[in-house]
């Protein structure tokens, strides 16, 4: 069901070539880079400049291997050995594996005296001018230079001369600091800006040991995808101002989740320590976001630790226990005719929450419920035109997207609606005037931060932010993906789905769900597009749904 494969290849048949990797013959499609062939065969080849999503300039020389070519007979045909395979002529000279494409009958050795000697030498060269910055370097702990020098390096320096001094702590962009002494000139960042971000601002100046990375005169690295260069920089040359000196990476717990800032649903890793999220980085998912994500989205998590976070249930602005708050909310909601209550949910909620919200609406007999649409200008890459991460899910679960908001607003204004249930939205953004909110008899609000609506709430229930809960969302492409809990919610705040479940029970609706898995199961049972899926079945990379009534496409 789930898969780690790359997106479906174009249907045209790619011929397979025979390659011998460390003595074993294997087949790879034509066009595969030699380093990829080695890695796919389970032979790791250390590398700095090679990146699977970027071109191969071959400028770090770390990926040196020994190449063998078929020995050609007099007829220019490969001579075959006893096993029927070509006899290989091993080159005495190493070759880089990242910029070499495989060819028929090629052989490669990823280890052996020659290769080891080469790696050793490359490491020594790379470290010649490298500063002893590890104690203050943010990359330490996830630094390829550290890792490879432990693995392949000499362990000591023979370099007695003065190291080349280069600029340090250079402010090259709004979100990025450059340390040129640490740069190993792999050019990944340059290629990323050229090939992926299409914003050519980085380049090398000077030659030899004095080669220096810099921004073009008059330009700055301010692109909304600039922080990806920090991710791919194999060393600590590029560092994020937001994360700089915040926390050492070895303390961070990484939680796989998804971005909730737009309908793309980029896959992310939430790095947290002891209840505090320190950074968010993109997670590779070739179906969604490849290896990248926009800066504006990855930096949008600090609100989770806002001092104003709602932490205690409030009944008429006075702190209350959860039991009291839930029963008060239920009593208030039930005191109105169903026709006089409305519900505003949010397409930022997970499927599970939306499903329970709909159940709550059913239990209360609410007819008027809607979610707030958030159309926006996308960037044509990873920021979609929809600011809601789960519009598809909301639609799938039978919530309207915007059609009824004006009717609700009018109802609230005219007094036809006396009770309003607002889940994770600011009602004033839905066309309801603040003054009208104050006139409502019942205003139950579930949210994580104060907004213009919360002061008027008769019952205010604090909920969880995206890093504090589990659940699933469906992106605009129809892929259902999982959120995971990285930290726990502050104070008394609870999981949204639990709040909704308790409200349903309190207004006399059905119970029977005690875990998010059970919510999903109940939801899948009622939603044809989700049939056969489970929370675990979604996997880390998500599952593409067939949303037009057709059966779900089996994944490759």
């Amino acid at each position: 069901m789930t898969t780690t494969a790359t997106p479906a290849q174009p249907k045209t048949e790619v011929p397979l070539l025979n390659v011998q990797v460390d003595g074993e013959w294997r087949q790879f499609p034509k066009g595969t880079r030699l380093i990829e062939a080695c890695i796919k065969s389970g032979q790791y080849v250390p590398h700095y400049c090679y990146h699977p999503k970027l071109s191969s300039p071959g400028n770090c020389r770390m990926c040196l291997v020994q190449l063998g070519m078929p020995k050609l007979g007099a007829d220019r045909k490969p001579e075959l050995g006893e096993d029927g395979r070509p006899i290989l002529n091993w080159s005495p000279r190493p070759a880089i594996s990242c910029a070499t494409e495989i060819s028929e009958g090629m052989g490669v050795r990823t280890s052996g005296p020659l290769v080891e000697e080469c790696r050793n030498g490359v490491m020594e060269f790379l470290l010649i001018n490298h500063p002893l910055d590890c104690p203050i370097c943010d990359q330490a702990g996830e630094c390829r230079l550290q890792e490879f020098s432990v693995e392949y390096g000499k362990g000591e320096s023979r370099f007695l001369e003065e190291k080349v001094k280069k600029p340090k702590r250079v402010d090259i962009g709004e979100r990025i600091v450059l340390d040129d002494e640490r740069c190993i000139m792999c050019s990944r960042c340059i290629r990323f800006m050229q090939e992926v971000a299409h914003d050519d601002v980085l380049g090398f100046v000077n030659r030899g040991s004095h080669t220096t990375l810099t921004v073009y005169p008059g330009k700055r690295l301010d692109n909304n995808y600039s922080l990806n260069t920090v991710d791919i920089c194999p060393v600590g040359a590029l560092t994020s101002k937001d994360f700089r000196f915040r926390m050492r990476v070895w303390f961070l717990k990484e939680t796989k989740s998804i971005d909730v800032n737009c309908g793309t649903g980029s896959n992310i890793l939430i790095s947290s320590r002891e209840g505090i999220v320190h950074r968010i980085t993109p997670r590779e998912n070739d179906f969604v976001n490849s290896c990248w994500m926009p800066d504006s989205h990855r930096l949008n998590f600090h609100y989770l630790h806002d001092e104003d976070r709602l932490k205690t249930p409030l009944v008429k602005s006075a702190p209350a226990t959860w039991t009291d708050a839930i029963s008060t909310a239920a009593a208030q909601l039930k005191s109105h005719e169903p026709a006089r209550i409305a519900m505003i949910a949010s397409a930022r909620m997970t499927n599970e929450e939306l499903f329970l919200a709909r159940r709550l609406a059913t239990a209360l007999g609410i007819e008027q419920f809607d979610v707030l649409p958030r159309p926006q200008e996308g960037d044509g890459f990873l920021i979609s035109n929809d600011g809601n991460p789960n519009t598809t899910g909301a639609k799938l679960l039978g919530l309207h997207c915007g059609g009824r908001l004006s009717a609700i607003a009018a109802g609230v204004a005219s007094g036809a609606i006396r009770g309003l249930l607002v889940l994770g939205e600011d009602a004033t953004q839905c066309g309801i005037a603040e003054g009208d909110l104050a006139n409502l008899e019942t205003l139950v609000v579930v949210d994580i931060l104060p907004n213009k609506t919360t002061p008027h709430a008769t019952v205010l229930l604090p909920a969880s932010g995206f890093a504090e809960k589990r659940g699933s969302m469906i992106n605009l492409a129809g892929r259902i993906q999982r959120l995971n809990r990285a930290i726990s919610a502050p104070g008394l705040a609870r999981d949204d789905w639990e709040i909704l479940r308790d409200l349903i029970v309190a207004v006399g609706g059905p119970n029977g769900v005690y875990s998010i898995e059970e919510v999903f199961r109940a939801m899948a049972a009622e939603t044809p597009a989700l049939t056969g899926l489970s929370m675990a079945g979604i996997g880390d990379l998500g599952v593409e749904l067939a949303l037009d009534g057709a059966p779900r496409r089996a994944e490759i």
Binding site: C134, P135, I136, K165, F245, R246, F251
Partner: protein, 175 residues
Amino acid sequence: MAFVVQRPKLNLAEKLYLPAVLGGLLLTIRHFFKGAAGRNVTMQYPEVKWDDHLPEWYRGAPTLVADEWGRERCVSCQLCEFICPPRAITITPEEIPNSDPWAKVEKRPKEFEIDMIRCIYCGLCEEVCPEQAIYLRKDYSITGYTRAEMKHDKAKLYELGGVKAGVVNKWNEKK
């Protein structure tokens, strides 16, 4: 495989047990008189102290040290925080502002706390520190009336640690 413990064969006197008891009683009474005569091994702690005999390698309270130019050696790399077995150390790093004379070091601890209730004086922090910034000095009588008092903050740690001169000063060589 079952393992059979061979019980020793006892002779009658041993079986009677009384001779052994009497032997034991004789032994203990000898110690009793020795003890009563004041020949015991106890050291009367607050009056008598071992301080002068503390060996060079004695591991007392961990402290932070400055170098001979007054620079705090710690660069807040948090390795000690990582290695500390009881997790006694809590470090909040910060960036050194550009105006600081030691701005090139870039990073320093904003707050450095060692919870002396937790610390087990193992010395791993000293061993792991790449900057030779944390040393276990000879203070062993770390007491306090409250838990808060037992948390040594940065100021207290530097007060206890003082200056450590003559070790590697790699930051001085850089431009």
